[in-house]
């Protein structure tokens, strides 16, 4: 109680514009010690610690994608991503503006009636708590944007110039570890790995405003949470990632890391069957084959947006909800990538829906270079 009063008093004083003469830093500016962290099966991913943020790690992201249906019946895709970066050097600067953590956020809406992505993005340091992430539970925010765990549900809130949404995401299944012990290896070197879990088959309800049109929406979504030190292998330029909510209740995640020649240098996947059995897929078991390329009229980048994929016991085709789902993130992470809603079909029959992410087609990814 006493400390609270003291805090209030201090706040009152600082509001009134009196500043205390603070001592000046020494000639050589002190650095904060760099935390020693490592992604290793020796320290498996554990709940509930996994739910919160891991600020000691250089890179972390939360990533929600999903398919929506409006009350009028139109189909839409949405994505919301929060990134947290710890710069390679952090000074022992007591200022509230010390850039010890940097946050980016990106959101997009895929509306086939519009034909290209509506996007919004933000970037901020964690100064004054205007952006931040809780260590105790899933709660990450940047300005008025937020992804927050409330009890068992998640709330996703975005306010952009062209669109905004407030969505409730209700888990229907437990979290899925995207690798043995929650460690997802990203290349031949086990050093390139991340802690990674997903919550597929989220039930979505909420409101979406596009321009000034408000609609009630429902649908299904997928949440990824991943943190790492050095996830991208040295010779990788990008990756293709796919997350699918299967109609039978199963969930499938596949990714391939590509080298400069755009050849796969590492493939992996996780298939949780409808009965709850988890199957980790190895590179030799997965085949990605591009069926159709699309060239972006605004960047000139060529993306393979239709694929045929084969894994043991399943062969299917990925069909994008619309062609142009390219995201130019100059105002946040600086990357340009294709990320869009897709449908999964097997001989014309729909198996489920998901999101496809294609990165590194326009040049090496920048943001991942923290590792």
């Amino acid at each position: 109680m006493t400390s609270r009063i003291l805090v209030l008093l201090l706040l009152g004083y600082s509001l009134s514009g009196i500043s205390w003469a603070s001592t000046l830093p020494p000639q050589t500016l002190p650095l904060q010690p760099t935390p020693h962290v490592q992604v290793t099966p020796a320290r498996p991913l554990k709940f509930p610690n996994a739910l919160g943020s891991h600020p000691q790690f250089p890179l972390e992201w939360w990533y929600v994608t999903g398919h929506l249906q409006s009350a009028e019946g139109s189909r839409l895709g949405f994505q919301l991503t929060f990134f947290r970066l710890r710069p390679p050097k952090v000074w022992a600067n007591p200022s509230a503006f010390n850039p010890s953590q940097i946050y980016f956020a990106q959101a997009a809406i895929s509306d086939p009636q519009i034909g290209h992505l509506l996007t919004a993005q933000q970037a901020s340091t964690g100064s004054l708590g205007l952006a931040g992430a809780s260590k105790d539970q899933t709660d990450v925010w940047l300005g008025h944007w937020r992804l927050q765990q409330l009890g068992s549900t998640y709330l996703a809130q975005v306010q952009g110039q062209q669109f905004s949404f407030q969505l409730q995401l209700q888990p229907t299944q437990p979290a899925l570890l995207e690798g043995p012990l929650g460690v997802s290896q990203k290349g031949p070197n086990p050093h390139n790995a991340s802690y990674y879990y997903s919550i597929p088959q989220l039930r979505v309800r909420g409101n979406l405003q596009i321009h000034s049109r408000t609609m009630k929406v429902h649908g299904s979504a997928w949440l990824d949470h991943e943190w790492s030190k050095a996830y991208l292998p040295k010779n990788a330029v990008g990756w293709d990632w796919l997350g699918i909510n299967l109609k039978d209740g199963g969930a499938l995640m596949l990714f391939q890391m590509r080298n400069k020649e755009q050849q796969p240098l590492w493939l992996a996947g996780t298939w949780r069957h409808a009965n709850g059995q988890v199957q980790y897929l190895h590179g030799s078991e997965i085949r990605w084959q591009a069926l159709h390329h699309w060239r972006s009229p605004s960047t000139g980048i060529r993306y393979p947006i239709r694929w045929q994929i084969e894994i043991p016991g399943l062969r299917f085709v990925i069909e994008p909800l619309m062609q142009d789902q390219e995201f130019q993130a100059q105002e946040s992470t600086g990357n340009t990538y294709w990320e869009g809603a897709v449908d999964i079909r097997e001989r014309g029959k729909s198996l489920g829906s998901g999101y496809l992410e294609l990165t590194g087609y326009g040049g090496q990814l920048q943001m991942g270079s923290g590792g």
Binding site: W91, N98, T125
Partner: protein, 831 residues
């Protein structure tokens, strides 16, 4: 408009072509007038545009700017405003200064790089996109072009800066174009600035972008009262307007002055066409007999005006653009008056202004053409054809001057409108008109002069008396021009005298010491205790000078906290008014006359100053004269200021030296104590006076240039008028030669006439000028600049000017008459 049957060649073209020199001079006069007025207008518009656009660009896509002039804001406001649901994004800044190794002060802006980029503010180079963490290094900074040039640095170099007394080595990681033209600037991470400058928790400015659809006015109303005292929330556009308003009066006055040049140009056309009209009377009378109607005579006159005006305007507009471009390059947007610090402006296209001033030139010429045409419109044809009388029989009645005088008086008494005394300017124009109407009558005072000796003298006197109307036309332009020159000279002289006198009165100390010109340029706080000991120094008076926002929608005013004796403030300030003794015991402040007028404040009034946590109530104990701070100044005891704000910084120190101390001794000791002091500004009262008056003169440079052009146009008028007059008198001269006068005699006759007319013109111009200067000093200056001054006629300037002009004028007349004198024998043959 039907059935015009004007014989173009005979009525319009030939009369002008016959006198190509005079017509050319008239065109030149119009061109000069247009060029000058347009140049001034262009410079004005451009200067304001540049200042406003610069401020807008600096704010990026921000809707509002929160700042607290001269003070700081707690960073808590960043959080509060950023969290408000109406706010989409905020970008805070902390602006500080550092000293470079060469002693130059460098302004350093601490920014939040990601917020700045999101706000689209031009403060980070695009090259940093590939190394996004670089700017977060506390010893990395970005310099603008001016800083790179002044410090002789390139990107990649290291830069040593003294920061709060500590030498720190920074690396230049990028460069940006000057955000404010001409200002040397470094941009760094805000967190680093708070840390290295020991300013944790402070910001100085916050740019705010609102969510789409939020009403800006409503948001400002909602927040303004909650904000700390002295802080303001306003749109970047408004910020620009307030900045521009600071110099509005100066620019409005300059524009009016430039219109005078155009006005003089109109008189030149008037002079030229008057003589054309007289010469043309015979042909016009014949045309009238042949059926030309009266109004067609009028139209023909107007066409002649257009014939002179259109080429004049077409020459004047490009010339004006050229002058404006050169002036902007050489002197900056404020023409050296010091409003926009070193702001270099480039000129944009303003077709509307070009067209307006071109049309104004044509209109001036048409206006000049109207009277001659009007007076020759209804001349008795038979009389002209009969005896060829060349002198006007029908002058405008002198009584017409009376209503003009009454109107002028009303104009003088009228209040200022939007900060510019247009009524007074109208009065000046009316007085000039009245003078022109009265001029022929006034010339008849020659009749009051004693008889001139000799036959030539007699002839001279008779000539002038009989032809006063014609002489007045020659003189009109020069009387107008010279009266304005005298008016300005008297005004500037009085002003300069008042400033010099004031400087004498306020500079008591032996030596003045200052760190620099800005709020943040401070002296070491232990300087007084280190330096101020007898016998070297007997007394020291420290000064804290910073800006403070006292009046909404006005630029900040200067706050001067200094040692001041509340019982005897007159020792420090030149007091104009004092309040009655105070019974409430409120702390006293003194305000400058300008501030008193801007704020409508009186002595004894209680005002609230935005100092300290919640502001303080103070009582205005007096009003003092001040010529230093044009936006207003407020003075209060240093002790009070420090108590209220906790701010112990000082920017200046006034020193009284011991009896046996020289300035050199003191400087030596100072440099031993503080090696950095070689970069301080140290001056004796004499040096300050000299520098102040230099700045004063510089700020009137543009005015002098305008006067010179007005005189030039006036002289063109004299030349044209006298030349035409002598031409008309060819017969007379020939006759005089017949009667035995030698050429030398005619020359002497013309010389005498020239001298006499010039003298009378100059004397009349001087008298009128003195009247106008009274209007300038007693009305224009107090109304537009809030400056009072005592009328001081600088005879030392006026008399040589008058003598010089009489000589120039006479010379012009003789040059104009020279051609006639060469032709008299031929004429005689003809006769």
């Amino acid at each position: 408009m039907k059935n015009w049957r004007i014989p173009w060649r005979a009525a319009v073209w030939l009369p002008l072509r016959d006198k190509p020199g005079a017509s050319l001079l008239a065109i030149l006069g119009v061109a000069l007038g247009v060029a000058l007025a347009l140049a001034i207008a262009l410079i004005n518009v451009q200067a304001v545009d540049n200042v406003a656009a610069g401020l807008r660009r600096l704010s990026g896509t921000a809707d509002l700017v929160l700042d607290r002039p001269g003070g700081t804001l707690s960073q808590e406001w960043v959080r509060r405003l950023a969290m408000a649901p109406e706010v989409q994004r905020v970008a805070p800044q902390l602006r500080v200064t550092a000293v470079a190794a060469n002693g130059q002060y460098l302004e350093v802006w601490g920014i939040e790089p990601l917020a700045t980029a999101a706000m689209g503010q031009p403060l980070l180079p695009a090259s940093l996109a590939s190394k996004p963490f670089a700017i977060f290094d506390p010893l990395h900074l970005v310099l603008d072009q001016s800083a790179l040039q002044r410090l002789h640095l390139r990107v990649g170099d290291s830069l040593s800066l003294e920061v709060r007394g500590v030498q720190r080595h920074f690396r230049v990681i990028g460069s940006i174009p000057d955000p404010t033209p001409g200002q040397a600037l470094a941009v760094m991470d805000l967190g680093a600035v708070q840390w290295l400058w020991g300013r944790e928790g402070d910001i100085t400015r916050l740019d705010i972008r609102l969510q789409a659809g939020i009403d800006r006015q409503k948001f400002v109303r909602q927040w303004q009262d909650a904000l700390p005292p002295g802080s303001f929330l306003r749109s970047p556009r408004k910020e620009g307007r307030i900045q521009a308003q600071a110099s509005f009066a100066y620019r409005a006055n300059l524009l009016v002055l430039s219109l005078v040049a155009l006005f003089t140009g109109a008189f030149l056309v008037h002079t030229t066409l008057s003589f054309t009209a007289i010469r043309q009377r015979h042909s016009l009378a014949i045309l009238r007999v042949l059926g030309l109607r009266e109004r067609e005579v009028l139209v023909a006159g107007q066409l002649q005006g257009l014939l002179l005006g259109i080429p004049g305007a077409m020459l004047g507009v490009p010339a004006g653009i050229l002058i404006a471009r050169l002036a902007l390059q050489q002197m900056g947007g404020d023409l050296g008056a010091g409003y926009f610090s070193s702001a270099q402006a480039s000129l944009a296209a303003h077709p509307f202004l070009w067209a307006s001033f071109g049309l104004a030139g044509v209109a001036a010429a048409a206006f000049g053409a109207f009277w001659p045409a009007w007076s020759s419109r209804h001349l008795p044809i038979v009389r002209i054809l009969g005896n060829g009388a060349e002198e006007d029989s029908r002058e405008i009645s002198y009584w017409a001057a009376l209503p003009l005088g009454v109107l002028a008086l009303a104009g003088v008494l009228a209040p200022a409108w939007q900060g510019a005394p247009y009524g007074s300017y109208l009065a000046i124009a009316l007085l000039l008109f009245a003078m022109l109407i009265l001029l022929p009558g006034l010339l008849r005072i020659i009749g009051l002069l004693p008889e001139f000796p000799g036959a030539l003298g007699h002839l001279l006197r008779a000539q002038l008396l009989r032809q006063s109307g014609r002489a007045s036309r020659s003189l009109a332009a020069i009387v107008v021009a010279f009266s304005l020159v005298i008016a300005m000279a008297v005004m500037v002289g009085s002003f300069r005298d008042s400033v010099a006198h004031w400087l004498q009165e306020i500079l008591h100390a032996d030596l003045y010491l200052e760190a620099g010109g800005r709020d943040g340029d401070t002296l070491p706080s232990n300087l007084p205790s280190e330096l101020c000991h007898p016998p070297l120094v007997t007394y020291c008076s420290p000064l804290r000078r910073r800006t403070i926002q006292l009046l909404p929608n006005r630029p900040p005013v200067m706050l001067l906290a200094q040692g001041i004796n509340s019982q005897d403030p007159g020792r420090t300030l030149h007091l104009l008014e004092r309040a009655a003794p105070d019974s409430q015991g409120l702390p006293p402040v003194w305000i400058s006359e300008i501030l008193a007028r801007l704020g409508h404040w009186r002595p004894g009034q209680i005002i609230r100053l935005p100092l300290g946590p919640s502001g303080v109530e103070v009582r205005i104990a007096g009003i003092y004269q001040d010529y230093a701070y044009q936006q207003g100044a407020i003075t209060l005891p240093l002790h009070d200021y420090q108590q209220w704000t906790g701010d112990k910084e000082i920017n200046g120190l006034a020193l009284w030296l011991g009896a046996n101390t020289t300035t050199g001794d003191l400087l030596e000791r100072l440099h031993r104590l503080y090696p950095a002091s070689i970069h301080w500004q140290i001056a004796t009262p004499g040096q300050i006076r000299k520098r102040s008056l230099e700045i004063f003169d510089q700020s009137f440079a543009a005015t002098y240039a305008l006067e010179a052009v007005a005189i030039l146009i006036g002289l063109l008028g004299v030349g044209n008028g006298f030349g035409a007059q002598t031409l008309l008198r060819q017969q007379e001269f020939a006759l005089l030669r017949c009667l035995g006068l030698r050429r030398r005699d005619i020359f002497r006759l013309l010389l005498g006439e020239g001298l006499l007319l010039s003298s009378i013109g100059v004397v009349l111009g001087t008298i009128l000028g003195l009247v106008i200067s009274l209007i300038l000093i007693k009305r224009v200056n107090p109304l537009s600049f809030h400056w009072q001054m005592e009328l001081q006629i600088p005879w030392g300037d006026v008399l040589p000017l008058a003598a010089g002009l009489i000589l120039l004028c006479t010379l012009t007349m003789l040059l104009a008459a020279r051609r006639v004198m060469g032709k008299d024998t031929e004429l005689l043959h003809d006769q």
